[in-house]
């Protein structure tokens, strides 16, 4: 089990044993319109060999968080505060040279759109071999042999021929496989997959997820899977973190989140997800409204503008007081545990079928 512990107040040292530990992470962009609070006090832990799913709508800060882990944010316009500790090494203040050595070797990333994320000018094989040649200091020939090996591992037929192809000669699913091969070429301990299946057909999606699972078993990497699709993440993740407007609003194991979700936003996500077993005539329930502007997030609970349960809390607490995400399993919501349980069982669950 991944330990998803420690509330905001208790910023524990990284020596707690977690492989990746993010503490009180704040990421702010300065834009022409003002300062965007993209990530606002986020904390989570991840252990080796485990998979953490981060779920949320577009603009909830999931991608930004993970780009910041790799140090891929633009240092001129971005302000980062807090701690990111990978295997005992502090990353937030690390030099570019240090990060360069870690990227692609110890931590790697799979991007969403494999067509734009692979360079059109170089062969797939060369792009896969590059990090291996650099980090392992091997010759180009060995790099190429490794690229062929990796292509075979991710299930590309005839890897010896396809290694010299350019990305545009691959199909979408094959390109995504090639990108996974590129990310895993140095056996990274941490793999961040940013919506790795969003751009793919449903059938290919399942294959890619299976592939990630198999490769995790082989290499023992820790995986962060970013997605807006609870269906994708519930298949593969051990733990889930639900993000809204730059903050974590609920965390727990996959089973806990699917079976007894506590936060009204998580209910909304579950309600807007189509289910195979449900009646065809049954309507999906979208979450009303749009995510708030991160330039000026609403006061109190940032979800209160779209939440249908603020009356149950009463006293205007939702718009005044920011709810705290408790230690471990829990949600950042002013409803009492009893209310959360009863509302879910009485109103939400019947709708989910």
């Amino acid at each position: 089990m991944t330990t998803l512990t420690k509330p905001v107040e208790d910023a524990a040292p990284a020596a707690s044993g977690a492989f990746l530990s993010v503490r009180d992470l704040y990421v702010r962009f300065s834009t022409e319109d003002g300062i965007v609070k993209a990530v606002d006090g986020l904390s989570f832990d991840l252990e080796r060999g485990k998979t953490l799913g981060i779920v949320g709508e577009s603009g909830s800060g999931k991608s930004v968080t993970n780009l910041t882990v790799l140090g891929l944010h633009n240092p001129r316009t971005t302000e980062v505060a807090g701690e990111i500790v990978l295997d005992g090494q502090e990353l937030t203040g690390a030099s570019n040279r240090t990060l360069e050595k870690l990227r692609g070797d110890k931590m790697a990333m799979i991007f969403q759109d494999s067509l734009t994320a692979l360079s059109p000018y170089y062969t797939v094989g060369r792009q896969i071999a590059e990090p291996y040649v650099k980090h392992r200091g091997v010759s180009k020939r060995e790099g190429r042999a490794r690229a062929i090996e990796m292509l075979e591992k991710v299930g590309i037929p005839q890897p010896k021929l396809r290694v010299d192809d350019y990305p545009h000669q691959f199909s979408g699913g094959m390109r995504q496989r090639a990108m996974i091969a590129m990310a895993l070429v140095c056996n990274p301990d941490l793999l961040i997959a940013d919506e790795p299946t969003t751009a793919l057909d449903v059938t290919v999606q399942a294959q890619i997820l299976d592939l990630l699972k198999d490769l995790q078993q082989e290499f023992g990497s820790a995986i962060i899977l970013i997605t807006h699709d609870l269906g994708v993440v519930s298949n593969i993740a051990d733990d889930l973190l639900v993000m809204y407007a730059g903050k974590a609003v609920e965390r727990g194991s996959v089973r806990q989140l699917i079976n007894e979700p506590q936060h009204p936003y998580t209910w909304g996500l579950l309600g807007s997800m189509p289910r195979l077993m449900s009646d065809v005539t049954e309507q999906l329930t979208p979450i009303p409204g749009a995510p708030p502007s991160l330039l000026a997030p609403p006061p109190g609970c940032s979800f209160h503008t779209r939440c249908g349960f603020t009356d149950l809390v009463g006293g205007g607490r939702c718009s005044a007081e920011r709810p705290v995400l408790p230690e471990g399993r829990g949600s950042a919501c002013h409803l009492t545990d009893e209310q959360k349980r009863s509302v879910f069982i009485e109103t939400i669950q019947p709708r989910l079928g």
């Binding site: 891929l72 360069e100 990227r103 990333m109 991007f111 994320a117 360079s119 059109p120 650099k134």
Partner: protein, 325 residues
């Protein structure tokens, strides 16, 4: 590739035919009789008629155009002498054969274009890339504003100014002149140094700005970010990933610039009194010298069309997506 070249060459022929017809017929739309030029002081209607006949101007214009075009390929025996193919006829102004005159002027233009290109490519791309690398810093701001100022300059302004300052008043540089490189390479270089620099000032500024903007654009591409994410160094990403993508727009503009430079750098040649194709074009217009004008026009147009084809073929080497589809 072969099919591509054949197709483009056929297209080029059509374009050149169109340009030649356009130039030819437009020339006769000018209310000006080229025969008056060689008629002299005691011009009588009879004399004029003879000259008209000698120059072939007594035929209808379409027939003249047809004859002109056919003679380019077949050559022609004039009463004054033989004109082998490619025959553009004799100059109305000085009775020289057009094609040998063109070939005589070409080395000057060629030298001017090649040297100018070396200067503006080297300096323009280097400063542009440096500005992109140091984006937002003082270096970037200095280069960017300098290129903006320089690109709003005009050759006919900086040219004489540079001549006055560097040649006539202070004798730092030689008087610009063309000496064939085969005769004396040092004199060739010294004679053209000032024209090269002046010619390339505006080009340099353009290339600085373009290299900067395309590099910055490329650096924001997702595949460039992927390269960073897999641990490649900033320099490697800059020169291998971003630079590769910047090549296409740069090669495109370079092809157009080079094509038009080889057709003659009119203002530069005029400013520095260099006898190149640009000067020739200017003089032939001023003298209503139709055969010479047609010769220069067709030569320049051929250069531009040719470099367009070269650029398109170069895309295939730069971008594998073009190569295979």
């Amino acid at each position: 590739m072969l099919r591509f070249l054949v197709r483009r060459t056929l297209g080029a022929v059509v374009i050149l035919l169109f340009i030649s017809a356009f130039t030819f017929f437009l020339f006769f739309a000018i209310p000006h009789d080229p025969a008056l030029l060689s008629c002299g002081k005691n011009c009588t209607p009879d004399n004029l008629k003879i000259i008209h006949h000698n120059l072939g101007l007594d035929h209808p214009v379409p027939v003249q155009y047809y004859n002109f075009m056919v003679r380019i390929f077949t050559g022609y025996h004039y009463s004054a002498g033989n004109c082998p193919a490619p025959c553009f006829g004799y100059s109305f102004a000085n009775s020289e054969l057009v094609w040998p005159t063109l070939m005589d002027r070409l080395p000057t233009t060629l030298s001017l274009a090649a040297g100018g290109m070396a200067v503006f490519l080297l300096i323009g791309l280097a400063t542009g890339m440096l500005a992109a690398w140091k984006r937002g810093t003082m270096v970037d701001k200095v280069f960017s504003s300098a290129s903006l100022v320089l690109s709003s300059m005009q050759i006919y302004f900086i040219g004489p100014l540079a001549l006055a300052l560097l040649v006539y008043n202070n004798q730092i540089l030689d008087q610009p002149k063309y000496v064939p490189i085969t005769d004396n390479p040092v004199a060739w270089f010294n004679g053209l140094l000032l024209p090269w620099c002046v010619l390339s000032i505006i080009f340099t500024a353009n290339y600085t700005r373009m290299a900067r903007s395309t590099m910055i654009e490329q650096l924001q591409e997702e595949h460039v970010r992927t390269a960073v994410a897999k641990g490649m160094s900033g320099r490697y990403v800059f020169f291998r990933y971003a630079w590769r993508g910047s090549l296409i727009p740069i090669v495109t503009i370079l092809g157009i610039d080079l094509g038009s430079l080889l057709g003659g750098a009119m203002i530069t040649e005029w400013t520095f009194q260099l006898a190149g194709l640009g000067r020739l074009a200017l003089d032939s217009v001023l003298h209503a010298d139709l055969p010479m004008l047609m010769g220069v026009m067709l030569f320049s147009a051929t250069m531009i069309v040719l470099f367009n084809i070269i650029v398109d073929a170069a895309y295939a080497f730069i971008d594998p997506r073009v190569r295979l589809s």
